[in-house]
Symmetry: C2
Subunit: 298 residues, 2 copies
């Protein structure tokens, strides 16, 4: 899976994101909003979701420089923009009240709360617009926008996932499926749909990977360091949020992460790219496990 | 312009909005988010933007029960959902900190700030999804989503308009065009596009009406009563926001409103529906002028 591990795929993702942000700016637009949106997107994190989207598109036969590939790139960027929007809103004082993100001040600290709300809003819109700007058959654009919308809004997208935290009775499975799984499932199904493959066959892979990343995030919140992560730690306990590490204990959560990685590998549909994609998942699972825990487990 | 004045059009808009909200709910979705979204949309205000969208679609020849009409209804609902989303976010403590809206507690007062942020986000997504669900040719759906996206995001949509309030130097023309004009222009151009007409010929009408509503809003903020408006008054002065009534004085703002109504009538493209549409604009202009001022002017 060249697309997920090589530098080329990452560079392409950054280029598509840069073009998307440029389209949201104009000399007679409000400059601070543009700056806040850039701050939310650059420099990025691991860009896991867009890399996954492109890896699946590649496994489904999309060739670089084809129309299918351009659409996959647009979908990958759109998904990352939605992810960045959710981080900006999640960091707001009324949610996590996080001072930092990716090692820099959170958007609401750097630009104030009003611009953080608006930058998140505008990034959501920009996600859809990025798909609309792709040179592709309208029917395929519409299919991808349906996938995108479902993964972000209500009742099953990331906004719904975050909203479960506001309920008095939280359904843990629905919470995690929506908060993390939805956008990972969008990445795999959109990658397949962009390449002209049947998207639903790729949903389970995205859902298992989403769960794995959530467990890894819970573990790092408990045993990672703020410097390493670029954001505060110990927030799940402080904010009373559901956490696999708190619920299962650290060894239990590590076992769960390993089980989910295995399940993700098993969920890769058969095909010429399957072996490469499974190998990649194995590498990612290693990367996800906090080093300290990996050493202890070894 | 039957579509804009009769009860039938309004009832249809409510029905399309109800269907849109129902699609954002599920038994296994988070119930408070669904309730907050409903609170933001029902009961509605005057539904000016969707009525304008349908009136233009009708003037461009869209026949009720046709595919073009269904698409116009979806566009009308999408535009109203975007408007409701912006009201929910504008009412947040970090912006207007408004306790009430449409005579009821604002969403952040009724459901808390986190759900108000998320309900706004989910309504933006639902706006796009409502267009995606319309039974129509994908190419026309894409064209309408381009119109919708431009009117909501950056650099020229309502999020950008609101963001001008965060700049140290505010460009008043750009501010008002984005904050109010953009969604009115979306209403007229989307109505035309849904009917298969050239949308740009209808932009000026939307922009002039948007300016007129903004001036009317500024006037009512200064001379209206909170009971009549269902929201706090005197906020422009208190929050240091640009206001035509503060800038031009009340008589000057009344003259400006009348001038804009005339300009809107002049901007109606020639065609079989033009006379009706002009008459309607005249009625709306009368309705917009606070009664007290109309009496003083008479």
């Amino acid at each position: 899976m060249e697309a997920m591990k090589d530098i080329g795929a990452l560079a392409r993702i950054e280029r598509v994101l840069a073009a998307a942000l440029a389209a949201a700016e104009a000399p007679d637009g409000p400059p601070l909003l543009a700056a806040a949106m850039r701050h939310a997107v650059f420099p990025g994190g691991a860009r896991i979701r867009p890399r996954l989207c492109l890896a699946v598109a590649r496994a489904c036969g999309a060739e670089p420089a084809s129309e299918a590939w351009a659409l996959a790139e647009a979908a990958a960027a759109a998904i990352e923009l939605m992810h960045c929007a959710s981080l900006v809103h999640d960091d707001l004082p009324c949610f996590d009240d996080a001072a930092s993100r990716r090692g820099r001040p959170a958007v609401h600290r750097a630009f104030g709360e009003p611009l953080a709300v608006l930058a998140g809003d505008a990034l959501i819109v920009l996600g859809f617009e990025t798909l609309l700007r792709a040179a592709a058959a309208p029917a395929r654009q519409v299919a991808l926008m349906v996938i995108l919308g479902r993964s972000v809004g209500a009742p099953f997208g990331i906004a719904a996932g975050q909203a479960w935290e506001c309920e008095t009775e939280i359904d843990l499975a629905h919470y995690q499926r929506a908060k993390t799984g939805a956008l990972f499932a969008a990445a795999t199904t959109a990658g397949a749909a962009a390449a002209g493959a049947a998207p639903e066959a790729w949903r389970a892979l995205g859902e298992r990977l989403g769960e794995a990343y959530q467990v890894a995030d819970d573990l790092r919140d408990m045993v990672g360091s703020a410097e390493e992560l670029g954001k505060p730690i110990g927030r799940d306990l402080a904010l009373g949020r559901p956490s696999a590490a708190l619920q299962l204990g650290i060894p239990g959560a590590v076992r769960r992460l390993q089980g989910l990685a295995d399940a993700a590998m098993a969920a890769v549909p058969a095909g010429p790219g399957a072996a490469d994609l499974r190998a990649l998942i194995g590498q990612e699972a290693e990367r996800l496990l906090p080093k300290e825990l990996a050493c202890r487990a070894a």
